[in-house]
């Protein structure tokens, strides 16, 4: 028994000895990562956090709002190759794989979460300058509104998450609730941000003007789709007159203006050596910086895209890649996956003399195009190209230049470097809001100078004045803003979707070079909205319900 007591004694001793280190031994300091509990206490970190909200805007394929909006629109056919069944699925209101739109859904909520985090911690940091803080909070509110508006446009009703730490399993909110948040955020953004001329701000940031312009778009969408006359906020409703005032403020005070030649907005105007169209029309690209007064807000890209490590595919413009011509080797017009062939009816709908026709669409056989895009020279069906119409998106097609060795490389790669890879080198700004759009919205909202605004857009396109009627505005928007992700939602708010799709019948196409016909499918039972990813519905345990028609 004496020996047993040794044992117990030694046990006690060991306990004391090790407990001395105890929990301290198990405490571990994080040496390579910051923590949410203190991250938002410094202004420079809040700015970093804001950068990450911007970063959530870009998408890819069926997760790219521009690509999806483009495919949904009756002005575009699926295109792509045989394995791009997703493109065909979007165009036909069909799910070719159950979580086709998961990225579109997820990316928006990532943006919302990051914005919510900033807003939750908005008073944690001590700012030297109240104006800086207001700008950052204003931009954050603008972006949260942008993401919720994007969700509301594509999916209709969605869960409304404003507290990043609350239970994310929320039922779908009503359109009123969603648009109340969007409108309140935008109004707050307009109030918070300073009225500086656009070129005093760092390019790429949201401005007071961007918030005013987006407010008009939100107003038109909400009042149109849901047949309302005003837009709710947490205090006073926003009326048409309020929106008119904001638009006039934007037009008069922002410094934004139309670029004299519509075609100089797009990168194809960059190359006047090899690109005949640019050469014969004496085009000169305005570029993507303060020299371009027309872009009010755009999604921006850089040369660091890639598959490995910290690289992200969202750092490059995937819309360029996806709409680029399939199998288009060695040419000033770059290569891509060939999604979103252009409906030839759109080409035909332009008025004679409208510069925007050939300025927006690359048409095989158009005399001003290069030799290789002339009938007879152009080879259809490359890389099993499907639904080819001979009309291709020109605004966002990848553009090549020649490097010092005479090889075709993406022009952005030539300007900014990055990886020598056609999948990664596209960096064209994706324009969310353009001054021409603001003018047309101001016309549609019956601002005092509606006719003047409307004519400014037409004049630039080389056209004469027309009375500013809704019918004329509809046509004008279709032609001015083609492939900019707006057409489908314009049709939705005008309740014109069914009518527009009814016209897309028996369009002659070439499937892998062989003649066929294409008829678009629209399923009115969906109200034009997309399905919520089924996995999300299952994960919600029935709290989320699927949208009608899906």
């Amino acid at each position: 028994m004496k020996r047993l007591s040794y044992l117990i004694f030694s046990l006690v001793l060991m306990m004391i000895f090790v407990s001395g280190c105890g929990d301290k031994f198990l405490d571990r300091k994080n040496l390579t990562q910051q923590d949410e509990s203190y991250y938002y206490t410094k202004p420079e970190k809040v700015k970093e956090a804001l950068t990450a909200v911007y970063s959530a805007m870009a998408g890819k394929g069926t997760g790219d709002p521009f690509m999806v909006a483009c495919l949904l629109s009756p002005d575009n056919l699926p295109g792509g190759g045989p394995s791009d069944i997703a493109a065909q699925g979007v165009d036909n209101f069909q799910l070719t794989k159950e979580d086709m739109y998961d990225a579109l859904w997820q990316r928006a909520y990532q943006g919302v979460f990051r914005a919510n985090m900033i807003l939750m911690h908005k008073d944690d940091a001590t700012w030297e300058n109240e104006e800086d803080k207001n700008q950052v909070i204003g931009e954050t509110r603008f972006l949260r509104a942008y993401f919720y508006f994007r969700l509301a446009k594509f999916f209709g009703q969605v869960p409304l998450i404003t507290d990043p730490l609350a239970n994310p399993n929320q039922p779908k909110a009503s359109p009123e609730e969603i648009f109340t948040l969007i409108a309140s955020d935008l109004k707050e953004a307009i109030n918070l941000m300073a009225a500086k001329s656009y070129n005093e701000l760092e390019y790429g940031h949201a401005s007071k003007w961007a918030a005013e312009g987006l407010m008009a778009r939100v107003f038109l969408f909400y009042t149109g789709v849901y047949n309302k006359t005003s837009l709710p906020t947490y205090d006073n409703d926003i009326t048409k007159a309020d929106v008119q005032n904001w638009l006039v403020d934007l037009i008069d005070n922002s410094g934004h203006a139309l670029v004299p030649d519509f075609r100089n907005l797009w990168p194809y105007s960059y190359d006047t050596t090899y690109y005949k169209y640019a050469r014969v029309n004496n085009l000169k690209w305005v570029g993507e910086n303060a020299s371009n007064p027309e872009n009010i807000f755009a999604i921006k890209f850089g040369p660091y895209a890639g598959w490995s490590g910290d690289q992200s595919l969202y750092y490059c413009n995937n819309f360029n890649l996806f709409v680029g011509l399939r199998g288009n080797n060695g040419s000033v017009i770059g290569k891509g996956w060939g999604w979103g062939s252009v409906n030839p009816q759109l080409w035909d709908s332009y008025e004679t003399g409208d510069l925007r026709q050939a300025g927006s669409i690359l048409k095989i056989g158009y005399p001003e195009e290069n030799q290789e895009y002339q009938e007879g020279n152009f080879q259809y069906g490359r890389n099993q190209y499907q639904y080819e119409t001979g009309c291709y998106i020109k605004k966002y097609t990848p553009i090549n230049g020649k490097d010092e060795n005479g090889n075709w490389k993406g022009i952005y790669y030539l300007m900014y470097g990055g990886q020598d890879n056609m999948q990664l080198w596209n960096m064209q700004d994706l324009v969310v809001l353009r001054f021409a759009d603001v003018l047309l919205m101001a016309a549609e909202l019956e601002c005092p100078k509606a006719q003047e605004y409307f004519d400014a857009v037409r004049t630039r396109a080389g056209l004469d004045s027309k009375p500013v009627t809704l019918e004329n505005i509809k046509a004008e928007r279709r032609h001015e803003l083609a492939f900019e992700g707006l057409r489908y939602f314009d049709l939705m708010r005008w309740h014109d979707l069914q009518k527009a799709f009814d016209e897309v019948k028996n369009i002659p196409v070439k499937n892998e070079g062989h003649d066929a016909f294409y008829t678009a499918v629209f399923r009115p039972e969906t109200n034009g909205f997309l399905p919520i990813p089924p996995t999300e519905i299952r994960l919600s345990g029935g709290v989320l319900t699927q949208n009608p028609g899906w």
Binding site: Y6, V18, N30, L31, A52, Q94, E202, Y203
Partner: protein, 1040 residues
């Protein structure tokens, strides 16, 4: 803390004064068996640690007190005891052992007699491992250890294996815990098989419970070789072992020749109503293909390395003195790869080992202070080829690349992609450029220092400080290359990295053996353990456009230009993972008939937040040696029969650090403001939804077993039944996207593994001829029983078998983990009438083109007229239901023979060697079974010229049963010492061995053993795997 250790040691040294013992005298003699003298026999004074070993002629001498008992023991022989009164000479003839019940086995912080074990342990001797000549010791466990499911990851030199003890128990890290001489290590690849004395596998919870915290996946205890004590002069035994082997590819894939390939391509065109291809304009040397003169390139054949060499040299020296034992090992192993010769895959391993222990203070038969150390140093180099997913796999590239391209162009350079398919690079060039110029160097030192103090008899305090330290570097150079329009590396680049890590395991135990009286025996042990990772540094850099353009000069210094788009840098220290433990064990037996063990371990882990750190893991086990009972005395055919039962809990804490907080990440959160797109703005956001409640995963296991020997101990049977439930499974379960960021690990599920393990052995023979047969069989049933989200599913990723295919496997409640999930097919539509009938029932088929003759009929499981994900069902299970093995040993007058066969049954493989939306990929000859007209096939759909919609949906088409039986080893050897003229020379054996001689299987792929899966919980996905080779070996062992 250092002071505390010193104080502790001094305290124990001072408190206890040793007792005094009686007068001693010297006893000497020789030990032999029927055939002659036996060197190396252990002789101990019973109840003490005083002892010696016999010399080369079997002689010994030892000092003994009158009245004590000498115990003679030697592996493979019955232990012999003799009481010493006043004899001066004792000669002993040992009898070969019938059972190994008296053998000492390791149980974790201690040892016990095999007879008294109450848990499901398994012991494999180092000699058994060495004789199978494995590259990696752990691989030798395959088939001879029931319950250890071992699947080789691939056949690359030095490749490791995927090991599950008693089934896949978690979706996280499912590796067992490895303990080498008491030191926690992550694997035992650094050891040479020749350095291993024994491997003990602790399978049930009760055995593993003493390692509580990290033992949920079982424990593998490794003991490295130790020396043996000798009385008088130093006795040295030297063992030299060497073999040289030649490896060859066991099975070639049946890819199409150029002529066959062209036929299939044109058939696809015709099926689509298109003109045949104009090959002449796109394929070089088309006339030679057309005439049949050139069969095209067989890329797989071109990358073969015939008679690839493997070699091993190992030297073990053991010696001992009265008070010290030493063991020294040195070995070198190298192996070339059978595939990918252009990239020179290779494995080289040098290990040096030194173990010793010394009695510092000895009083009579009692070692009062003893200390020692075990050190192993490893230096190795492993270079492989790409063997990952479909985008990173040289083997798949070699199988799938079309045959219409020559290997070299007229300049002798790798041929550029041909016009036929401008995206397909030359797979050999692609492999060589990317993989050839790699120089990995790893240095690992694992060891421990220990001190044992025995202040009073049978009371031992042991303190051990173990460490695991690694230093390494890596250099990689890739030249500028251009192989296809998609496969180019615009700048030559160099990557250099270095790492340095260190962890320690500091263990203190006190144990006491207490015999209450003749019948009641107690043993108790208490201890503490601290494990900490004190360093895990890593630094790396990559830069492009150097000044040399030569692999020899591939150092970052030779890249003077720093360019943010081309230069990468990183450095981190994953410092601080820690586990703190308290544990204790009590064992009791009554007359060695009724056995009882209880274990309790409490662990704290730094991976959890304060308040959730501690977990307590209990276990109890009991044994009943029925054969010792009175009523069994007359049952002559049963020599030994023990019934065991155990229950216990183990833990798992193996998750990433800081899961309980929300850390900020910059990953993919950056953006680009301003006119200059090259300026990158960092964007940070909370990387996950924090889970402050995350805590231990617990695996609870019940085990019932029988150990028995029958018929004069010729027949040996072990049977175990177990039921293992892993609760609160640590898992990253998908959460709603509305959360806006990544989920953190949660305790999110339960998984159950139930099974039976049987080992049956028969030994027989006579003086000239002995034989032994051992058969093992293990059955395991795996089922996920809970996943803590509303969907009850964890999804697998997309693009696995072929680009463009969505999820093919998942973890789901009610199914085995990682089961294959997809459409069931119901044959092929044979004609238009059938197509119409199918399409009249199926209103929506996700194939963009309406199914017609030659297309699959998918089964509409729910009958709603729509083929969608609701119709996807269980297609197969990659986890084998059964593992089995057979080992036969024969010996006749110096000749000996070993046969080892291993097998698995009841698992399926998902296979595709080509991407079905790349129509230009080559086929294997099973394409000849395709549908090409009514009645031609009901399993393989028609060919198309473009991405085949039938093949872009996961279906049972891709699933094959992969049951197999492999003749993994056949050895024939001869003991040259049997020859008269050799008698004076060292004891030498020479042997010939064949490895992987034949595989019985219906599986059509390269090898049915496929461990690969894109996530660590998946397996059985064959997209082109480096297959195991067939090896022929000649070897030599010499004993001095």
């Amino acid at each position: 803390m250092k002071n505390s250790i010193l104080t502790l040691v001094l305290f124990w040294a001072l408190v206890f004064s040793p007792s005094v013992f009686g007068q001693v005298h010297t006893v000497s003699g020789t030990v032999s068996d029927q055939t002659g003298s036996l060197p190396g026999v252990n002789i101990v004074v019973k109840g003490t640690t005083i002892g010696t070993v016999t010399g080369i002629d079997g002689d010994y001498s030892i000092e003994v007190a009158p009245g004590s008992t000498l115990v003679f023991s030697f592996v493979g022989y019955e232990t012999y005891e003799v009481q010493i009164n006043d004899q001066k000479r004792v000669d002993v003839v040992l009898q070969p052992e019938k059972t190994n019940l008296e053998e000492i086995v390791i149980v974790g912080y201690g040892t016990t007699k095999k007879k008294l074990v109450t848990g499901a342990n398994m012991n494999v001797k180092g000699d058994e491992i060495s004789k199978l000549a494995p590259a990696n010791a752990i691989n030798a466990l395959q088939g001879i250890s029931p319950g250890v499911s071992l699947t080789r990851n691939n056949g690359m030199p030095g490749a490791t294996a995927k090991i599950n003890i008693r089934g896949m128990g978690t979706i996280g890290n499912s590796n067992p815990l490895y303990i080498v001489d008491g030191v926690t290590v992550s694997n035992i690849d650094y050891l040479s098989p020749s350095d291993i004395e024994s491997i003990d596998v602790l399978k049930d919870a009760a055995s593993a419970a003493i390692y509580g915290s990290r033992a949920a996946n079982g424990v593998i205890l490794v003991t490295t070789r130790k020396g043996a004590k000798s009385q008088g002069e130093n006795k040295v035994s030297i063992n030299f072992n060497s073999f040289v082997g030649f490896q060859n590819v066991y099975k070639m894939p049946d890819v199409l020749t150029a002529q066959e390939y062209v036929l299939m391509q044109n058939e696809g065109r015709l099926n689509d109503g298109l003109q045949p291809w104009d090959f002449a304009s796109m394929v070089p040397d088309w006339d030679k293909i057309e005439s049949g003169e050139w069969k095209g390139t067989n890329w797989f054949d071109e990358m073969r390395n015939q008679n690839a060499v493997m070699q091993n040299y190992s030297l073990n020296v053991n010696w001992g003195t009265k008070r010290s034992v030493y063991s020294l090992g040195a070995s070198y192993y190298s192996q070339d790869g059978v595939l990918g010769k252009q990239a020179d895959p290779r494995f080289k391993r040098l290990t040096l080992r030194f173990n010793s222990s010394h009695v510092l203070w000895k009083k009579d038969d009692m070692d009062i202070i003893k200390f020692g150390e075990n050190f192993t140093y490893n230096n190795s180099e492993k270079v492989g080829i790409k063997a990952g997913n479909i985008y990173y796999n040289d083997i798949r590239n070699a199988i799938a690349t079309h045959p219409l391209m020559p290997v070299y162009d007229e300049n002798g350079d790798y041929h550029y992609a041909v016009d036929w398919y401008t995206k397909a690079p030359n797979p050999l060039g692609f492999m060589e450029y990317d993989m050839r110029y790699q120089w990995p160097k790893t240095n690992r030192t694992v060891g421990n220092l220990f001190l044992e103090i025995q202040p009073v008899k049978n009371f031992v305090i042991r303190s051990s400080y173990g460490f695991n330290s690694g230093i390494g570097s890596y250099r990689h150079w890739v030249p500028q290359y251009d192989l296809s329009e998609k496969t180019l590396n615009p700048y030559e680049w160099t990557y250099q990295s270095m790492y340095n890590n260190y962890s320690y395991t500091f263990t203190n135990t006190a144990s006491y053996e207490y015999r209450l009286n003749k019948d009641n025996f107690f043993k108790a042990m208490v201890g503490t353990e601290m494990y900490k990772q004190t360093m895990a540094l890593n630094i790396y850099g990559k830069n492009m456009n150097g000044i040399f353009n030569d692999p020899e000069y591939a150092y970052l210094d030779n890249y003077p230009v720093i360019d943010p788009t081309l230069t990468t840098l990183g450095g981190s220290d994953n410092f601080g993972q820690a586990v703190l433990s308290y544990f204790g064990r009590i064992t009791y037996n009554y007359k060695e008939r009724y056995l009882f063990t209880a274990v309790l371990r409490a662990d704290g882990s730094s991976n959890f937040a304060k308040g959730n750190r501690w977990g307590t893991f209990p276990s109890v086990a009991a044994g009943w040696v029925i054969s010792s009972e009175k009523f069994m005395e007359n049952v002559k055919w049963i020599d030994f029969l023990k019934l065991r039962a155990s229950w216990g809990q183990n833990g798992n804490q193996n998750i990433g650090a800081f899961q309980y907080t929300s850390t900020i990440t910059y990953n993919k959160g950056n953006y680009f403001f301003g006119p200059d797109k090259t300026i990158i703005y960092l964007g940070g956001y909370p990387s996950r939804v924090p889970n402050p409640d995350v805590t231990w995963e617990t695996s609870e296991q019940t085990d019932i077993g029988i150990d028995a020997y029958f018929i004069d101990s010729k027949l040996k049977v072990n049977v175990d039944y177990y039921n293992k439930v892993t609760k609160d499974w640590l898992v990253t379960a998908p959460i709603l996207a509305t959360a806006g960021t990544n989920p953190s690990d949660i305790n999110g599920g339960n998984i159950q593994n139930r099974g039976i393990e049987i080992a049956v052995g028969w030994n027989g023979g006579n003086r000239d001829f002995t034989y032994g047969i051992t058969g093992t069989f293990a059955y395991n049933h795996n089922e996920v029983t809970e996943i803590a989200n509303d969907e009850k599913i964890i999804h697998g990723p997309s693009n696995i078998l072929t680009h463009g295919m969505s999820e093919i496997y998942r973890a789901q409640v009610g199914y085995p983990i990682a089961y294959f999930w997809g459409f069931q097919t119901n044959g092929i539509i044979q004609n238009q009438a059938e197509a119409d009938s199918y399409n009249s029932k199926i209103t929506s088929d996700p194939r963009a083109i309406v199914p017609g003759p030659g297309d699959f009929k998918y089964v509409d499981q729910n009958g709603d007229g729509v083929i969608d994900d609701e119709d996807k069902v269980y297609l197969g299970d990659p986890n084998p239901d059964m593992n089995f093995g057979i080992q036969i040993n024969l010996a006749y007058k110096g000749f000996y023979c070993n046969f080892t066969g291993v097998g698995q049954a009841g698992m399926q493989i998902a296979k595709s060697y080509r991407s079905w939306n790349y129509p230009y990929d080559n086929y294997t000859t099973d394409v000849f079974n395709r549908w090409h007209g009514e009645g031609t096939s009901n399993t393989y759909p028609k060919l198309t010229s473009s991405g085949n919609q039938n093949m872009l949906f996961m279906s049972d088409f891709f699933i094959e049963d992969a049951s197999f039986f492999r003749i993994s080893n056949l050895t024939i050897g001869y003991d040259l010492s049997r020859l008269d003229f050799w008698r004076k020379l060292p004891k030498t054996k020479i042997y010939f061995q064949g490895q992987n001689l034949y595989v019985f299987t219906n599986y059509s792929g390269l090898d049915p053993e496929v461990a690969w899966g894109p996530t660590n919980w998946a397996s059985g996905i064959d997209i082109g795997t480096y297959p195991p080779s067939r090896n022929l070996i000649v070897g030599l062992t010499v004993n001095f």
